[in-house]
């Protein structure tokens, strides 16, 4: 789609070494978009593939005027590819999907229908996944439970790339590092209305998965950060206070253990000095995290992020 032509719908597809899938993917996308019947563009973000994906993409672009190809200077990862796609998107609605054919472009009309009903984000939910059970599905289930527990988003499957966003939201969302996994949580932090929709999931045909089990600990750490960013970014002191509270609880338990009359509790007798020691240490941590919280408040204030207009930061509806 050449610049200047109004576009209603932008499809963003991050591509990293998916050359054998691309033609099929594009054909499926074209069929799905025909059913949608809106002026649209397809943005392929080539994350510096090394298998000739770019050449295939340029061929597709020559055949289809709706195609735009964003070519990275080097490999920057999936989150960066999505962020670049968001930045380039011109449509009122942005739909993201994987380049590996595991998402079904046939689900796009259903996602759009949900957006039209007034949602800001519609997240795909791979109800029937076709991935390895032990290496992919169980860790993913655990991660999703943890994410929804921590952030309060009721989304079963935040890892599914097939999602639809209103452009309003996309403009207000800043994603970096590997935050694409937490998009629904982050979107809620920006005041978005989030829904989910069961979508089709197909087994991989060509190429191989770029993820493995090694990311588990990283996801846990990211989760700790996302929780803070999505829910406490305007009052980090409360987040650190919450952590302090946790340590305070521990401190009280150990204080109790060290002062209780050990004639009545035989077990405690052996441990009172131990408990006292731990109590002091926990007290230290309580103090320490409150101080870190103050430091964070300073960082937030100094950044001036809250001086920006609220309506530029948060998704809202005017009535």
């Amino acid at each position: 789609m050449k610049s200047g032509t109004p576009v209603d719908l932008s499809i963003v597809v991050p591509i990293f070494n998916e050359a054998p899938n691309l033609r099929l993917l594009h054909a499926e996308l074209a069929t799905a978009l025909e059913r949608v019947g809106r002026p649209c563009e397809i943005i392929y973000v080539d994350d510096r593939s090394t298998d000739g994906s770019l050449e295939v993409l340029l061929e597709l672009r020559a055949a289809d005027a709706r195609v735009r190809v964003v070519h990275f200077r080097r490999n920057f990862g999936q989150t960066a590819a999505l962020a670049a796609g968001f930045e380039q998107a011109r449509g009122h609605v942005v739909v993201t999907l994987d380049g590996d054919l595991q998402n079904d472009p046939g689900d796009i009309p259903a996602l759009l229908a949900e957006i039209d009903l007034g949602c800001d984000v519609v997240a795909g939910w791979r109800k029937q996944r076709h991935d390895g059970l032990v290496l992919r599905r169980i860790p993913s289930w655990l991660a999703n439970r943890l994410i929804s527990l921590a952030t309060g988003t009721r989304v079963h499957d935040t890892g599914c790339t097939l999602k639809a966003f209103r452009k309003d939201l996309v403009e207000r969302l800043v994603i970096y590092s590997e935050q694409h996994r937490f998009l629904p949580a982050l979107a809620m932090g920006s005041g978005a209305r989030v829904r989910e929709l069961a979508v089709n999931h197909r087994p991989r045909r060509f190429g191989k998965s770029k993820y493995g089990i090694g990311r588990a600990s990283r996801v846990l750490l990211d989760l700790l950060a996302i929780l803070m960013i999505a829910r406490f970014s305007h009052r980090p002191l409360h987040y650190f206070g919450l952590i302090s509270l946790f340590f305070t609880g521990g401190a009280i338990v150990f204080l109790f253990m060290s002062t209780v009359n050990y004639h009545t509790f035989e077990l405690v007798k052996k441990w009172w000095q131990f408990s006292l020691f731990i109590f002091f240490m926990l007290l230290l941590l309580v103090l320490y995290f409150v101080l870190l919280g103050l430091l964070s408040e300073l960082a937030v204030t100094a950044s001036g992020m809250h001086r920006r207009r609220v309506l530029d930061r948060l998704v809202s509806r005017s009535h």
Binding site: H71, F72, R73, A80, L221, A225, F274, M281, L292, S296
Partner: protein
Amino acid sequence: MSETNPQDLPPAREELAPKPLAAARAALDPLAVSASGARLAPPHLATLDVTVLVPITSPRAEVRDVVVALGRELEREGRSHEFVLVFDGVRGKAWSDALELAAQHGDKLRMISFENPFGESVCLSAGFEISRGRVILTSPQYVQIDPLELAPVLAAIDAGADFVTPWRHPRVDARLNRVQSACFNWLIRQIIRMQFHDLNCYFRAIRREVLAEVAVYGDMYRFLPVIAHRQGFRVVEVPVRHLKEWGQSGFFGLGVYVRRFLDVLGVMFLTKFTLKPLRFFGSVGALCSFLGLAILAVVSYQRLTGDNEGLYGRPVFLLAVMLLVVGVQIIGFGLVGEIIIYTQARHLREYRIERVYE
């Protein structure tokens, strides 16, 4: 940029001073305004092919040799060029030489001088801010590299490189220096996983766009190729002929090694973890905590089963508790890092687009 103050000049040179100074000021004038207020010379000011940028940190700098040698080569290559000499808190012979050269070259040779030394990074940024070349060629303050190497270096830029970093090969300085330098570069390669052999040579050709995007401060000038590569620029290494080496030979002071190590640590952290500080602090912290917990479990088990002395009297128990506390604290640091990055994320774009095919 400080004013060039005639009173500070050696008396013997005073009669030389006024005219070239006026010329230099006149050349600087339109830019001097923008250099004090606005940051960069706008792109349309890039009217020349090459700006040779020479940071000068010693009064014994061989300014004349450098200017003459590189000037001749650039002339031969047929590239329009200019020289920018940045005096980092030094004057002396180098300054008076520069004044004479400025008188000969007029607009083609300009100087910036600082009253105090601010380091090479500041020199580089300052020189860049008034430069007019499409390519910035930084040169050491003496003829360290064979001027004939200018041709292949610039050819690499013409072939599409954004940044050409030299590799002195073979080297002519003392063996001990070479060993130390090799160790340093090996360490960098291991940490950053990039194939650069020689980060300590500053005969670099840098496309203007790179310096416009990469902020150089502190000791960053040393790692500029690494940072440019991280930003997605094409960095090419070109072997060059090493003529002589000025620096001190033998072992450096302990402080130098400590500082170098800290630099490496800083670059490693900034290149890998700028946008995910919790990944770094969290891993270190979790490791500490885990170690502490493991030791704690062992000593508690011993206490539970055996009838040994109280835990508080065992040093290993103290160690375990300390590790646990430190580990948790380190994770806390990571959280503060995350909030800092989050508040700035709008300004820190992670990706660089080479081209959008519309």
